[in-house]
């Protein structure tokens, strides 16, 4: 299997443009006026036909947001953001009210997803054109335009829809869980999201159900001068299992665009959520112009005993990444995992990592983070492992490895390890290395070009993490490794 990946990596490196998702779809959009104020929030809420309580929450969040400072503890250089110079709502005019069937979706949008390699046509998937069944929620700028396999999932009792639909159809669940893991006052970016989120995905897996297929959301920013603020909420009821994937791309533009998402996961007794991300937002050009600001708050709570949340992320895109998918391990024997690859090149900056908060007895966590820096980029692992006094028998193992390619980049490791329980065992290891001349020459002597050799060696370096991705994503991720490091050697 890995051979195929490697080969595809090599092929792709040769055949593709540097950022092949960088095109723009020319489509007529419905937009809210530029800027951010209470009226805009009312506009969004009205567009979504939201109940009063949600509008109130939004307005409350907006009030808080105005007084909150920008988080400044990350090792990032961020130009001040003019929040009033962006559109907070942009939806394709024709599909603003979500089409009933795929046939009703604007063909231009379908074409966009086709071009990105995202299967929206159920028939094709069933006919075996695509390898495996994956249900997709397609979010285009501010709205979900299509959600596939809903009927089939419904038969299994699984709810898979956009968050806007969930607000209408499952208001009790949304009210109960929205903001329960990431409170609106958590940080400035999350607070902004609470005020202006437009769409996102809602998943509920009922008791004892193993979700019959992988679920995914594909986020696409298309419109210029817009931000994307999606909200994802996944609830895995007792004894259930779900594997969820997300992917994201955006056109190449000279301006920076803001993406401030919030993801909340809730795992009840014996439930398991596997959450995988391949983040390929536009990273900016080789001079550091343009690119997405990816400021994301992702957190899951293992509420029930024996529950498990596993985050896997491959971060290759974005001009700036600020992201710490975390686990609150409240339930006894619950498990949190974080597997991460972060690659930066040119002028990209990434400050990413995780928090593992051990509250319950015998909770376990595992962190494997691989950072690769090339060009003039900076990559930081920042993590927190906290063992509370009640977390008797807790265990954590953390391993952070950094690879530097060239002498103009930086690689940093900032772990915080707080152990308040003598019966806990906490282990942390970190290393820094580079690709040796010996390794490159050895590969080249066997006929592999220098650039391909770098992709091969870096993929080897990341293998422990890549193994945790679902197969389709692993292929994509391996390709991205090669592409994102283009021009980093020689």
């Amino acid at each position: 299997m890995s051979n195929r990946f490697a080969q595809e990596t090599l092929d792709t490196v040769k055949n593709l443009e540097k950022y092949d998702a960088g095109f723009v779809t020319d489509i007529e959009m419905e937009k809210a006026p530029k800027g951010l104020n209470e009226d805009i929030i009312r506009f969004i809420s009205a567009k979504k036909k939201e109940p009063e309580w949600l509008l109130e929450e939004r307005l409350k969040a907006y009030k808080h947001w105005q007084d909150m400072p920008e988080p400044n503890w990350a090792k990032l250089k961020i130009d001040p953001i003019d929040y009033n110079d962006a559109y907070y709502y942009a939806a394709p005019k024709r599909d603003e009210d979500k089409p009933e069937t795929l046939d009703d979706v604007d063909p231009k949008i379908l074409e966009t997803y086709e071009k990105l390699g995202i299967p929206l046509k159920e028939q094709e998937i069933l006919a075996g054109v695509k390898t495996r069944k994956v249900a997709v929620d397609a979010v285009f700028d501010s709205v979900s335009v299509a959600t596939t396999f809903r009927e089939e999932l419904k038969k299994a009792g699984v709810v898979f829809c956009s968050i806007s639909e969930a607000v209408q159809e499952y208001p009790d669940m949304v009210k109960k869980y929205l903001g329960s893991v990431v409170p609106m006052t958590d940080n400035k970016h999350a607070c902004l999201n609470a005020a202006v989120f437009t769409d996102g995905t809602f998943v509920y897996i009922p008791k004892g159900v193993r979700c019959p297929m992988e679920l995914s959301t594909y986020f696409r920013i298309n419109e210029a001068n817009t931000g994307q603020f999606e909200r994802t909420l996944i609830i895995a009821d007792e004894g259930s299992y779900v594997s969820y994937l997300e992917g994201c791309t955006a056109p190449m533009r000279d301006e920076n665009q803001l993406h401030a998402a919030v993801v909340e996961l809730i795992a009840l007794d014996d439930a398991e959520i596997k959450y995988s991300t391949v983040q390929n937002w536009y990273p900016g050009d080789e001079n550091g112009k343009g690119g997405i600001y990816n400021f994301v708050t992702k957190r899951g709570i293992c509420k029930g005993k024996n529950s498990k949340i596993s985050w896997t992320q491959v971060e290759t895109g974005s001009a700036i990444t600020w992201k710490y998918p975390s686990c609150i391990l409240a339930g006894e024997n619950s498990v949190g995992e974080f597997y991460s690859v972060a690659i930066t090149n040119n002028y990209q900056q990434a400050d990413t990592g995780t928090k593992m908060i051990h509250l319950g007895k015998n909770t376990k966590s595992r962190i494997i983070a691989k950072g690769i820096s090339a060009g003039k980029s900076d990559s930081t692992y920042r993590g927190l492992v906290r063992i509370s006094p009640k977390a008797v028998g807790a265990r954590n193992y953390t391993q952070c490895d950094s690879l530097l390619i060239g002498d103009q980049c930086g690689a940093h490791t900032v772990p915080y390890i707080e152990n308040k329980n003598m019966s806990a065992v906490v282990e942390h290891e970190a290393t820094t290395s580079k690709i040796s001349e010996d390794q490159l020459f050895y590969c080249q002597q066997r006929g592999i070009s220098e650039e391909d050799a770098v992709a091969l060696i870096v993929n080897g370096f990341c293998r422990e993490v890549m193994q945790h991705l679902p197969m389709e994503f692993a292929v994509e991720a391996q390709k991205l490794v090669g592409i994102s490091l283009e021009g980093s050697v020689g």
Partner: protein, 419 residues
């Protein structure tokens, strides 16, 4: 017993004190909002209401703790005590006040570069109160291989207030000089000490610097060390921490020359409500430097230890080898260890690694040892002792090594009940 003649204060020194006072007035004491002090609060210290004191009660040799080494230099409540001290060959100066009266320009040269004081509030406070301190100055090529003990005794004898003492220490080793020193911190009563230690290691100099912190369990101990490492110089330090209810040790090692070697190690044994915080920076600025940090400790009762270590490798510092390890054993459910081992790296051809572990003592070998007839408490002492001894294994001076070993043995024996 204050020095008989008060020397004229040079203008530059007054200006320096003034700068310190101004900065400290602006910063105040650090709080946990300051990232460097994230895990340590000075609230309790503030409440104690320590006051500056110049009083030194009558101290004679009988009041001093037992000598640990052949030669001893004694400071009491922040001032040098020539009558209680031995003569050491090869030293240009022993105390700051002496050196100041002999070579004020040389003192100025070594004292004025204080770094950015606003990042170091306690050093600013110390700077505002520069009085006396150790000044060991070795000319080029002078070798003092036999270790010298420096005793810092703090007493509250005859002092009405809760006293606060300052020491400003300078170690200057010119090209190729060698020095071996054991600093021994002792005291009785509730007091606070604020030590600042500036070390200049010129080319090829070699400094072995050992520290035994055995302050009174009611004392507050602050120590800030700044080290200028010129090319091919080498530094080895081991700090053994047992005393004080609150202690904080800042070490900034600036590797400004190439091919330097810097080993910063420590062991700590805490009980009661002791709080011990170490913050280390190894800042590699030039190629082929080696820096190593190893901290190991055991925490009993309601104690808390903090280890914040950072290896910073700047762009020119290719060929750096930077390592950092922190291991802690918790003996009590109420003890806590916080570690933040940090790497900041801007050069690609480097080897850097860190590791941190914490948890209870590994009990597996206990049963094995018991089955061989070793009683359980003795077995635990053996295990804990060997855990800590790793820190002192590489000390090549046998006298120093056995002093540290005795400290470990003594602590473990006196906590027999707790183990």
């Amino acid at each position: 017993m204050l020095p008989e003649t008060r020397h004229e204060n040079p203008d530059w020194l007054d200006a320096l004190r003034e700068t310190g006072a101004e900065v400290f007035a602006a910063t105040g004491l650090p709080t946990p909002a300051n990232e460097d002090w994230k895990y340590s609060s000075l609230r309790k210290y503030e409440k104690e209401g320590f006051q500056i004191s110049d009083i030194i009660g009558e101290i004679d040799t009988n009041d001093l703790p037992k000598k640990l080494l052949d030669k001893r230099i004694v400071f009491v409540n922040g001032f040098f005590q020539p009558r209680l001290s031995d003569q050491v060959e090869g030293l240009k100066a022993v105390s700051l006040l002496d050196w100041l009266s002999n070579e004020p320009e040389a003192v100025q040269e070594n004292l004025v570069d204080v770094g950015n004081l606003s990042d170091m509030p306690l050093k600013a406070e110390n700077t505002a109160h520069i009085r006396d301190g150790v000044a060991l100055v070795l000319d080029a090529g002078v070798h003092i291989e036999k270790p010298i003990e420096i005793l810092y005794l703090s007493t509250t004898k005859g002092v009405e207030v809760k006293p606060k003492y300052y020491l400003r220490n300078l170690f200057v080793l010119h090209d190729g000089a060698h020095l071996n020193v054991l600093e021994n911190y002792q005291g009785q009563g509730t007091y606070a000490v604020n030590h600042v230690c500036d070390i200049a290691l010129h080319e090829n100099a070699e400094f072995k610097h050992y520290r035994l912190q055995n302050e009174d369990k009611n004392a507050y101990h602050f120590c800030h060390t700044r080290l200028m490492h010129h090319a091919r110089s080498s530094y080895e330090t081991v700090t053994c921490t047992r005393g004080a209810c609150f202690s904080r040790h800042d070490i900034q090692s600036l590797l400004i020359g190439a091919e330097v070697s810097c080993n910063i190690n420590g062991l700590y044994m805490l009980n009661g409500v002791q709080h011990f915080d170490t913050k280390i920076l190894a800042d590699h600025m030039e190629p082929n430097g080696v820096s190593k940090q190893l901290y190991k400790g055991i925490l009993d009762d309601e104690t808390r230890a903090v280890f914040q270590g950072k290896v910073h490798v700047r762009r020119p510092a290719q060929g750096t080898d930077g390592r950092q390890l922190s291991h802690a054993v918790l003996l009590s459910t109420a003890a806590e260890i916080d570690a933040k081992p940090e790497l900041e790296i801007y050069a690609d051809d480097v080897q850097c690694a860190h590791g941190a572990t914490s948890g209870a003592l590994d009990e597996d070998p206990l049963f094995y040892m018991q089955s061989r007839g070793i009683p359980k408490d003795q077995a635990r002492r053996l295990l804990l002792g060997s855990f800590l001894s790793e820190v002192i294994e590489d000390i090549d001076c046998a006298a120093i090594q056995s002093i540290f070993q005795a400290q470990i043995d003594d602590w473990l024996l006196s906590h027999q009940g707790a183990l």
